[in-house]
């Protein structure tokens, strides 16, 4: 029969092994994601997509198409997505031209939809 001290020791070893497994699986060799979705993109790429949409909107003034494009990007509502993109653009010192495109699209959406939430 094992003594209680030995059982505690084995439990400690089990915990250490578990911790080692977690550290390896979460930090050293984490799961590699493939087949991700737009809402998993980092904010810089999401902002770039919003910027591309803004540039297209500046040319064709098709707000419906712009909202359709934006709705594919995030799982938050579009107003938040626009706000986050503008904040990021300011933080990263985007060119005035790029910021203007983002603001133009944001204002157009706000004008039509007001403060209403636009869900994707």
């Amino acid at each position: 029969m094992m003594k209680s001290r030995q059982i505690i020791l084995l439990l400690c070893i089990l915990v250490v092994g578990g911790a080692a497994g977690l550290i390896y699986g979460w930090f050293i060799n984490p799961t590699e994601y493939i087949d991700t979705t737009f809402n998993m993109l980092s904010i810089d790429y999401q902002t770039d997509m919003v910027l591309m949409t803004g540039e297209i909107y500046s040319s064709d003034l098709d707000l419906t198409a712009a909202i359709q494009r934006l709705s594919q990007i995030g799982n938050t509502n579009i107003n938040d997505l626009m706000e986050d993109s503008l904040v990021y653009a300011h933080e990263m010192s985007f060119s005035k031209q790029d910021v203007d495109q983002l603001e133009k699209l944001k204002n157009a959406i706000a004008l039509i939809y007001g403060g209403n939430t636009i869900q994707p």
Binding site: L10, G21, M52, T53, I56, M92
Partner: protein, 272 residues
């Protein structure tokens, strides 16, 4: 001694079980959620959407440098092939024609910029000027983001877009008794004789039309595309975004001792 080995085995086994449980949790049950992924990891549908967004954006901005960087981040070295492949898929669907055209337009712009022999894109009737921008990046910079790094784009990347014409410089009947269905085989070349991939060719026939794109069978040549002909039907051929029509294409009559009279195809060489 035997007892030491016994205890060592128990310790190792316990550690292994613990590590297994830890890995099971970290890889299977509760993996780290990725909230900072890159376009390269997007699912195929997402990549298609992203590619169309890049192409639509290029169509209005003419900013080829940015478009290329974005495509590199998405598809890496396969960027141009993916453009053609998606354009081909979309061309099968009438609803996807506009997107297909945008993708081909971008593809052609990239190919033309790459090739010093041709400095202009001959696709549209209007003129697009690349918007001078102060933002581009080196694609191999992992921290790069297109809109934050500032490198001026030079005037050499301005696209001059003019309407083009095409010329059928050669048409030969193809009589192959082993070929069950006659084929219209098209080879598209540029003025210097180099094969051109990504060229959309519209084949019109009574009651419908289909599009074929060069370069989708690279083993047969970058400028190659083909189309199955139905005997007795007259076809007309247009090269998209080019002026002119090549008419009265139909399966030709061939003869062999084994098959007797049978329908044959054509090989057209088109120069843009």
């Amino acid at each position: 001694m035997k007892q030491i080995i016994y205890w060592l085995a128990i310790v190792l086994a316990t550690f292994g079980i613990g590590a297994g449980i830890g890995l099971g949790i970290s890889w299977g049950i509760s993996p780290i959620k990725s909230q900072n992924s890159t376009p390269a990891t997007l699912n195929p549908s997402g990549k298609d959407t992203y590619r169309i967004l890049i192409a639509d954006n290029f169509r209005v901005t003419g900013d080829l440098a940015r478009a290329r960087i974005r495509l590199d981040l998405l598809d890496g070295s396969q960027a141009t092939n993916e453009l053609v492949e998606q354009a081909y898929r979309l061309s099968m669907d009438p609803v996807g024609e506009k997107d297909s055209n945008s993708l081909i337009f971008l593809h052609d712009a990239i190919i033309n910029i790459h090739s010093p022999a041709t400095s202009s894109v001959t696709l549209l009737t209007n003129t697009i000027q690349a918007i001078p921008s102060d933002s581009t990046v080196t694609p191999d910079n992992a921290n790069y983001f297109p809109v934050t790094t500032k490198i001026p784009i030079t005037a050499t990347e301005t696209l001059s877009v003019t309407p083009s014409t095409f010329t059928v410089i050669n048409s030969d009947p193809i009589c192959d008794p082993n070929q069950q269905t006659p084929l219209l085989q098209v080879m598209v070349i540029d003025p210097s004789g180099k094969p051109k991939s990504g060229i959309v060719i519209q084949i019109t026939f009574p009651g419908g039309s289909e599009r074929i794109i060069t370069g989708l069978q690279p083993e047969l040549g970058k400028g190659y595309a083909d189309f199955r002909l139905t005997p007795g039907v007259n076809y007309a051929l247009n090269v998209q975004e080019s002026v002119g029509t090549y008419e009265k294409i139909s399966a030709t009559d061939c003869f062999s001792m084994t098959r007797g009279t049978y329908p044959g195809g054509w090989l057209l060489v088109i120069q843009l």
